[in-house]
């Protein structure tokens, strides 16, 4: 895998993708492509398969039909650690069973950057501290993760993902447990990472995120994939997918669209 080919190819491509959970089809065949600088939101009701789709895009699950490529190559062609430097996954919060400092927890994200015998050096620690500052927890390095609130723990997980420094961010409900201010701050942070650094050396970055808030998706996403929970998929530009009829159908609840200061807003009836 040469860095040059990876830098030119789209960050993420899915071709003719279809997913099955047991006997049930979660989504029929569809394709997607994510270029550097773009942000994609996955929307859909509970159990529609958003997490399954995200894990498939992360290469942790084989698609039932079709192929997923990152940087132009299928996952099978990527050594696991190289893939981990290219794409990072924020998983839904899992309970901690052992005490550990916040800094140690963020440094876990440096794993794919270190050799078999490597120890985290001052450079890794600097990256981890910057990541903590980026999520608004600059003074938390010494805290025990077992003492954190749900929202603080979520931000520590986001910091660990930032320390991993992938080009493709795959976020499973990144706003879980976050208060309003930190929801916006988190989405702003990822938008800044994706937009401002589109031309940085080594290639720009992109985000795929599972969201529950349609209005935040309308505000931050360039593309949207809407799963309706019955196998139907809509994929496309934000404005072509975020239509009140499509959303009402998918979520099983009538929604209305308003324009507020030129910004699309969806309100349930």
């Amino acid at each position: 895998m040469s860095a040059a080919t990876a830098a030119d190819a789209p960050l993420l491509e899915a071709e003719g993708l279809a997913l099955q959970a047991g006997e049930r089809w979660l989504c029929c065949e569809f394709s997607l492509k994510l270029a550097a600088g773009e942000c994609l939101a996955l929307l859909g009701p509970n159990g529609a398969g958003k997490t399954t789709l995200l894990h498939t895009l992360a290469g942790l699950r084989e698609p039932s039909v079709g192929q997923v490529r990152i940087g132009g190559q299928p996952y099978a062609a990527w050594p696991a650690l190289e893939a981990a430097r290219f794409r990072g996954l924020l998983v839904q919060q899992q309970p901690d069973h052992f005490a550990a400092s916040v800094l140690e927890t963020v440094l876990i994200g440096r794993h794919p950057h270190l050799g078999r015998w490597g120890w985290e050096g001052p450079q890794d620690e600097r990256i981890a501290r910057e990541a903590l500052a980026a999520v608004g927890l600059p003074d938390f390095a010494g805290r025990d993760v077992l003492t954190l609130s749900g929202g603080e723990r979520q931000r520590v997980s986001i910091a660990a993902l930032l320390a991993q420094a992938p080009r493709l961010f795959l976020l499973d409900e990144p706003l879980n447990h976050l208060d309003l201010h930190h929801q916006i701050a988190t989405l702003d942070l990822f938008r800044r990472l994706v937009r401002d650094d589109a031309t940085r050396p080594g290639g720009g970055r992109g985000v795929v995120m599972v969201l529950h808030d349609i209005n935040l998706a309308a505000r931050y996403a360039d593309h949207v994939i809407l799963l309706d929970g019955r196998g139907g998929v809509r994929a496309g530009d934000r404005d072509s997918v975020l239509q009140p009829e499509l959303l009402s159908h998918a979520f099983g609840h009538p929604l209305r669209r308003f324009e507020v200061d030129g910004r699309a807003t969806f309100i349930p009836d």
């Binding site: 894990h55 992360a58 942790l60 050594p79 696991a80 650690l81 190289e82 893939a83 981990a84 430097r85 794409r87 990072g88 996954l89 998983v91 899992q94 901690d96 069973h97 052992f98 005490a99 550990a100 400092s101 800094l103 140690e104 927890t105 876990i108 994200g109 794993h111 794919p112 270190l114 078999r116 015998w117 490597g118 120890w119 390095a141 010494g142 805290r143 025990d144 077992l146 003492t147 991993q164």
Partner: protein
Amino acid sequence: MRRPAGRRPGVLIALLLLAAGAFLWALAAGDLPVTLGDALAALGGNGEGTAAAVVRELRLPRAVSAFVCGGLLATAGALMQVLLRNPLADPYILGISGGAAVGALGAISLGAAVFWVDAAAFAGALSAMLLVFGLAHGDGSWTQTRLLLTGVIVAAGCGAAVSMMLALATDTRVLSMLFWLMGDASGAARPWPALAVLALGLAVVLPFARDLNVLARGELNARALGVNVTRLRVALYVLASLLTASAVTLVGSVGFVGLIVPHLVRLAIGNDQRVLLPAAALAGGTLLLLADTAARTVMAPQQLPVGVLTALIGVPVFLFLLARHPR
């Protein structure tokens, strides 16, 4: 905060010194008092007479056995806690010691010689390991809960078999069975293979210690960070089982060390497996060596079961450390 760098070498050096001190005490203490100088001379091969023979042929093998057994159990316990992501896991939780007990008691009830009792214990431990692995892995999925439940059930089955063999055995054999079950370092004359297992086990696992750190945070996360979770788990399971089987065969199912020592070390230096594993091996070995020496000296000539001593030493230390780190 747990700032690693400064304290790590310090803790390991302190543990090494403690271990050396425990060895000196173990060689010098007993019915036949030996001065430290004579004990060291005997070790160097210069000593003459009864004292040197006692040190070289009785106390040294016993001390090494106790140390190796403690080191094996503490390392296996630390590995099991990561494998099952469960702070309550210990080396025996998946039925290894139960399998070993069934093998050993079966051999005793047939009147087998010591060597065959050991061999049967090791074979029983490996059978339990394969049985649990096969049952838990049956359909390809391998969740921690499934593995844990399978292990607990197999352990319960072994417990029933042990009780039955005790009930059916003749009086003299019951005594040697109970002796085996409580664990006893006095009969362990050949600790060197187990020492090799401990050294090899650490040598195999230490290059993967950072992978274990990642795995301890959750399986999905570990896979996304490039860790081959399936292979790592199988390797962990087999390694922890082999370490436990060696310890149980050498000394017996000494309780407590495998559960508590990893926690003691974790409270002192944090949960970085790269330091935790060697530190746990040293601390576990030292704890069992101290306990065994105390067991044969405090009420001499009466010998106490060493498992009682490990609990008496470990419980207060553990409670003290726990109180020092309020959550």
